[in-house]
C-alpha cells in the first residue's frame, strides 16, 4: 500500500534538493528511532524518506583547537566512545547515555534528538548548558543557531522547510570548568525523563564560580535555559546556600504540565533537586579539571 519513496543522497546539496522537491511531504531519516515508530502507528504518512546517513559531513566527528563538530547523524554510541569528547564534555555524554537503550543509541542521533523537539529529550539540556550551536543547511544556504533556539514546543522547531541540522558545535571546555546532566525517571533506564537538569560552570583560580549555565528538560514545552539559576551560583563557591538558590530559581522557571509520566506538582518538587545534584557533579568535575 505504501507510496513512500526512499532516497539516500550522498551530498548535502542532493539532500536539500530532495527535501525542496518534496514540498513538505518528506521526512529526514537519521537514526529512525522515533521516525519508525511514528510510521508504524500511522501518525505520519510521508511521501519520501531522505536517509542522510550516507552524507560524510553528517556522520563524522571533528575535534580541533576550536572545539568539536559533531555530525548530526553520528550515532549516540559513537559519541559515547569518543574519548576526547567524553573527557571535555562529560555532562553532554551523561545526557546522551540516558537516551534509550544501548540498541537505541546504536542508531539514534543528536540531530534527531534535537529536531524531534521533545521537551524531555535528554541530550538537549546538556547541549544548551554547554552553549552548543546547531549548524544548519537549507535552500537559503547555511546558518548557525544556538541549540536553545531550535525547539519551540513539542514537535515544533524554528527550522524552515527543507532545512537540515548538519552538526552540533561544541567549544573546547575551558579550564576549571565542568558540566553534568541528571534526570529523574521511575526506572533506572528505558524511561523518558520526568525532569532533566544540566549545569555547566567555570571556576576562577580561587574556586569562585565565574560562569554558569543551567538548562532544564521536561518542565516546559521545550528545554529551558535558566539564567536566574545560573546567576544564583555565579560569584559563589557553589556552596549550600548558593545551591539552594539555584534549586529555587530552577523551580521558579519551570512551567510543567500533568501527563502520564508525571504530575506538575511532582515535577516542580524535584526540578530543584535535580538541578542542585547536577550542579554538585559539575562542580566536582570543574575542580578536577585543572
Amino acid at each position: 500500500m505504501s507510496e513512500m519513496r526512499y532516497e539516500a543522497p550522498k551530498t548535502l546539496a542532493a539532500a536539500v534538493a530532495l527535501l525542496a522537491a518534496a514540498s513538505g511531504g518528506a521526512r529526514i531519516l537519521a537514526g529512525g528511532t522515533d521516525l519508525l515508530i511514528q510510521l508504524r502507528t500511522g501518525r505520519i504518512e510521508p511521501s519520501l524518506l531522505v536517509d542522510i546517513k550516507g552524507i560524510p559531513e553528517m556522520t563524522s566527528i571533528v575535534a580541533d583547537s576550536s572545539g568539536f563538530r559533531l555530525g548530526a547523524a553520528v550515532t549516540l554510541m559513537q559519541l559515547t566512545e569518543h574519548q576526547a569528547l567524553a573527557q571535555e564534555w562529560p555532562g553532554v555524554i551523561d545526557g546522551i547515555k540516558f537516551i534509550g537503550s544501548i540498541q537505541v543509541k546504536g542508531r539514534a542521533t543528536l540531530g534527531g534528538n534535537l529536531c524531534n523537539a521533545s521537551p524531555a529529550a535528554d541530550s538537549v539540556p546538556a547541549l544548551i548548558a554547554a552553549g552548543a550551536v546547531a549548524s544548519i543547511i537549507g535552500p537559503a544556504g547555511r546558518r548557525e543557531t544556538p541549540v536553545a533556539e531550535i525547539a519551540t514546543g513539542p514537535g515544533r522547531t524554528t527550522l524552515t522547510p527543507g532545512e537540515i541540522v548538519t552538526a552540533l558545535l561544541l567549544p573546547r571546555q575551558a579550564r576549571h570548568s565542568g558540566d553534568a546532566y541528571l534526570r529523574f525517571t521511575p526506572r533506572t533506564e528505558m524511561d523518558i525523563a520526568v525532569v532533566g537538569a544540566a549545569v555547566h560552570l567555570t571556576l576562577d583560580e580561587r574556586g569562585i564560580c565565574s560562569q554558569a549555565r543551567v538548562a532544564l528538560g521536561a518542565v516546559a514545552s521545550r528545554a529551558l535555559l535558566v539564567p536566574e539559576a545560573a546567576a544564583a551560583v555565579i560569584g559563589t563557591r557553589v556552596d549550600g546556600p548558593a545551591l539552594a538558590c539555584l534549586a529555587e530559581a530552577a523551580r521558579a522557571a519551570s512551567q510543567p504540565i500533568d501527563d502520564k509520566r508525571g504530575t506538575r506538582e511532582f515535577r516542580l518538587r524535584i526540578v530543584g533537586v535535580m538541578a542542585q545534584r547536577a550542579a554538585e557533579i559539575a562542580l566536582d568535575r570543574a575542580r578536577r579539571n585543572s
Binding site: 505504501s2 507510496e3 513512500m4 519513496r5 526512499y6 539516500a8 531519516l29 537514526g31 529512525g32 528511532t33 519508525l36 515508530i37 510510521l39 508504524r40 524518506l49 536517509d51 546517513k53 550515532t75 554510541m77 534509550g100 537503550s101 544501548i102 540498541q103 537505541v104 546504536g106 542508531r107 533506572t188 533506564e189 528505558m190
Partner: protein, 158 residues
C-alpha cells in the same frame, strides 16, 4: 511503488531481498529471509527482543528499515553457534538456567555478546545497565547476569 532490491550480508552469507520502504529489517529477517530467531516483542524499540548486529553495532531491528540494510553486514542469533559448537554465552545460558520462555533469549544473547566484545570483564552493574534494553519477564534477570559474568570469565580464560 516498486519494491527495493537490497543486497546485504547476513551471518556471513550474501543475501538479496525485495522490500517496501516501510518494511523494517525485523520484518525482512522474519518474513523475507525466514530467519525467525529474531523476535518481535513490541515493535517500538522498548524490549530488545529483536536485537541484531548491524555493521558491528547492537541495534533493534524493528527500528531499522530493510532498505537501510543495503551493503551492510547483519548478524543474528542464527549465526551465533559455529557448526555444532554453541557460543560460550549460549552454553552458559543453558548451564545457569538463564532462560525460561526463551522469547527474549536471542536478543539478550546478541546484546551480551556485544557487551563482552567491548568489555571482557564487566561488573554486575555494567551487565545490568548494558542489558537494560532487553526486557525479560520470566527470570528476574538473576541467572542471566550470572550466566553473562560466567561466560566472560571463561572467555577471558580466567
Amino acid at each position: 511503488m516498486a519494491k527495493h532490491h537490497v543486497s546485504a550480508t547476513v551471518n556471513g552469507d550474501g543475501v538479496e531481498f525485495l522490500c517496501a520502504t516501510d518494511q523494517t529489517l525485523l520484518e525482512v529477517l522474519r518474513d523475507e529471509l525466514h530467519l525467525n530467531g529474531t523476535k518481535e516483542g513490541c515493535g517500538t524499540g522498548d524490549c530488545g527482543a529483536c536485537s541484531v548486529m548491524l555493521d558491528g553495532r547492537l541495534v533493534c531491528s524493528c527500528l531499522v528499515l530493510g532498505v537501510e540494510a543495503e551493503g551492510r553486514r547483519i548478524e543474528t542469533i542464527e549465526g551465533m553457534a559455529v557448526g555444532q559448537e554453541l557460543h560460550v554465552l549460549q552454553r552458559k545460558f543453558l548451564e545457569h538456567a538463564a532462560l525460561q520462555c526463551g522469547i527474549c533469549t536471542p536478543g539478550i544473547l546478541i546484546a551480551a555478546r556485544a557487551l563482552l566484545a567491548r568489555n571482557p570483564d564487566p561488573t554486575e552493574a555494567e551487565v545490568r545497565y548494558w542489558l537494560a534494553g532487553n526486557l525479560c519477564r520470566c527470570t528476574g534477570y538473576h541467572k542471566i547476569v550470572e550466566a553473562v559474568q560466567d561466560a566472560a570469565r571463561e572467555m577471558r580464560g580466567a
